[in-house]
């Protein structure tokens, strides 16, 4: 056990799995960095340094810098996965999915079904998502809802360093295609993380707070915000259960249902756009199963139906905040906040 950042946790998961299984390889743009260049090799480790050092340890046969062309290298990862390797491909920002989505949507995700169960595609796509980095409309999206919609994919959204390590190791060992979402704003956040490898199973939510008045389900970076909100509310006498689903596909609906039925109230915090989102997904599924146990309609706290703005002044209003979560809970339990003091 030692203090590790989310970045280090991801790096360590990759390293340990590569040590364990020689079929695990890593590929992506500048995941090593410096290929063909006159200076240092292993020069980047990705734009935010997450994979730095792996090239030095594992060399060019296992840490593969690619050309800047996602269709072909993401598709090659799918093809390699279907033929015996266990590739971890880095789609730098999930916003770039539009460039190579076919290889995920129609190839990797569907091999197994289309081929009558004969394909095994142990592919992991690691990708950065989320707002707060002042990276503007094309480098700040969440988009996990789009992947969650697609049968055949598993979707993982780790909320902190501990979760990231365990879930990434699980993703690499999993035999189905997995999209692994890393929140770029979390990379520097540190916490105690075991040094040895461990896995966190898919489809098992984590309850981070227990309370009686309201259940808050939050995803990724929003889990920390939900915890903050819950802690604040607790001081005001409102106690919340906070649930981190960890994976959106599969989704641990049972835990969400159970905790929601206990409190009778549900707030869902989803950093993405509201329409056809994880927020609406969870709200509808819970309502379908727990209607009679609900004291009020599930509330959805999401980003608005607008692209992510660049200006910090706007982005801070755009991304859901602990204050907004708090306000939603207070309203739900019947203690409306006065003027939202953002």
């Amino acid at each position: 056990m030692s203090k590790k950042s989310y970045r280090q946790a991801v790096n360590e998961a990759l390293r340990q799995e590569m040590e364990r299984d020689p079929r695990v390889i890593l590929m992506g743009e500048d995941v090593a960095g410096g290929t063909g260049a006159p200076g240092q090799q292993d020069a980047w480790g990705g734009p935010l340094g997450v994979t730095k050092g792996l090239y030095t340890q594992f060399g060019p046969d296992r840490i593969l810098d690619t050309h800047l062309a996602e269709i072909s290298f993401i598709g090659a990862a799918a093809g390699a996965a279907a033929t015996g390797l266990r590739p971890v491909a880095e789609l730098m920002f999930v916003d770039f999915m539009g460039v190579c989505f076919d290889q995920i949507l129609n190839q990797a995700a569907k091999f197994r079904y289309m081929f009558g169960g004969k394909a095994v595609t142990p592919l992991v796509i690691r990708t950065m998502y989320g707002g707060g980095f002042r990276a503007a409309s094309q480098h700040s999206q969440c988009l996990y809802s789009l992947f969650t919609h697609i049968p055949g994919l598993k979707v993982v959204v780790p909320s902190n360093a501990y979760e990231a390590k365990g879930l990434l190791i699980q993703s690499i060992r999993d035999d189905d295609p997995v999209i692994f979402f890393e929140h770029k704003v979390l990379y520097d956040e540190e916490m105690e993380v075991p040094d040895e490898p461990y896995t966190i199973p898919f489809g098992e939510a984590n309850v981070t707070r227990e309370g009686e008045d309201c259940t808050i389900v939050a995803l990724g970076r929003m889990v920390g915000f939900a915890n903050q909100a819950a802690d604040n509310l607790a001081k005001q006498g409102i106690t919340c259960t906070v649930v981190d689903p960890r994976t959106t596909s599969p989704l641990d609906l049972d835990t969400i249902i159970e905790t929601t039925e206990e409190t009778g109230r549900l707030v869902i915090v989803d950093e993405s756009h509201p329409r056809c989102s994880m927020a609406s997904d969870i709200a509808s599924l819970v309502t379908e199963r727990s209607f009679s146990k609900l004291k009020a309609a599930p509330r959805m706290v999401t980003a608005p139906h607008a692209p992510v703005p660049f200006s910090p002044a706007l982005e801070d209003l755009y991304v859901p905040s602990p204050a907004k979560i708090e306000a939603a809970v207070r309203e739900l339990v019947g203690q409306p906040t006065r003027v939202a003091a953002e």
Binding site: S72, G75, G79, N106, F115, G203
Partner: protein
């Protein structure tokens, strides 16, 4: 042609049998589609047999191919079970893909057949991936990417040229140019040339007559050998023609009036093969007739089996989405 004489008799017979099997398979599927017995989109390979077979004669199960929507010929050439294929096309439970894939998704990974593909150009990256596996796991395998003239303009294919080049992957790109993407002529839609593009990306390339099995066989052999020896990717531009429409149901008004008759009469790869080999006195016309007859009988039986086979049921609907969920 000298190469015809150099191949062992059994190889010649095997090649002819595969080509003949493809032709008969496709002709019968055509009949059944016309009779309303096969649903969906079906694209036939008849007329293009020399390409798939000329290439795949160099391959074994450790080698992989990525195919297209027009995949039946590649499947047969790569050794997929013909009964299982026909059942798949009829959507039967014991089809090669359990009836879930159909004509456009026939695959058999155990044979190195990575799948027909409903997405034009998608096979390029997949072939690179399989080649990466061969390279890193040192299996000695080579990957072949079959794709059409239309596909040759897709980003997926063009990027794959470069990826295969800079990673020095054992890939053979086979541009099967049948003159059309649906109804659009390749002479119009393909700027520059296939071989010129290959050169632009640093890939050796050659254009071959796709009606001539031996031309395909020879060039593919060289390129596959080079790839297997670590010499990297190359590209073969195969000119050929399809006997049927783009898909079954295509009225083909965009083709010249005599085009298909001319193809069938003067550019039939099977006829040309037979003629060459008979002229070289390697195989007698009677032996060919015997193959023809056997293939006709086999495919007839395949058809009977396929039609009699049971459909999948509700119990099959939700299996195979994941290994575990």
């Amino acid at each position: 042609m000298s190469s015809a004489l150099q191949l062992p008799r059994e190889t010649l017979l095997a090649a002819y049998t595969r080509m003949r099997t493809i032709r008969e398979f496709e002709d019968r599927v055509h009949d059944e589609f016309s009779a309303g017995n096969i649903p969906g989109f079906v694209h036939l390979y008849a007329g293009e047999e020399a390409s798939g077979v000329g290439v795949c004669m160099h391959l074994t199960d450790r080698d992989a191919i990525a195919s297209t929507h027009r995949g039946h010929g590649h499947c047969i050439a790569k050794g997929c079970d013909v009964d299982g294929m026909m059942k798949e096309i009829f959507g039967r439970k014991d089809g090669l893909c359990g009836g879930k894939g159909g004509s456009m998704h026939i695959a058999d990974l155990s044979k190195g057949m990575l799948g027909a593909n409903g997405i034009v150009g998608a096979g390029g990256p997949l072939a690179c991936g399989a080649a990466l596996t061969s390279k890193l796991l040192k299996t000695g395998g080579v990957s072949v990417c079959f794709y059409g003239d239309g596909a040759s303009n897709q980003g997926a294919i063009l990027e794959s040229y470069n990826l295969a080049k800079i990673w020095n992957l054992p890939v053979l790109f086979v541009a099967e140019d049948n003159g059309y993407a649906e109804s659009t002529a390749s002479s119009w839609s393909v700027g520059g040339s296939q071989t010129g593009r290959a050169t632009g990306f640093g890939l050796p390339s050659r254009e071959v007559d796709g009606f001539d099995f031996f031309a395909v066989y020879e060039t593919a052999g060289e390129m596959i050998d080079r790839a297997r020896a670590g010499g990297g990717p190359s590209l073969m531009h195969v000119r050929l023609g399809r006997h049927y429409g783009h898909f079954e149901g295509d009225a083909m008004t965009y083709r010249a009036p005599d085009e298909i008759a001319n193809l069938r009469q003067n550019h039939d790869p099977l006829k040309i093969f037979k003629q060459r080999v008979v002229e070289a006195s390697l195989i007698s016309p009677e032996e060919f007739d015997a193959v023809d007859k056997k293939v006709v009988d086999d495919i007839a039986m395949t058809m009977v089996n396929a039609k009699a086979a049971p459909m999948p049921t509700e119990a099959d609907l939700l299996t195979d989405v994941y290994l575990r969920y």
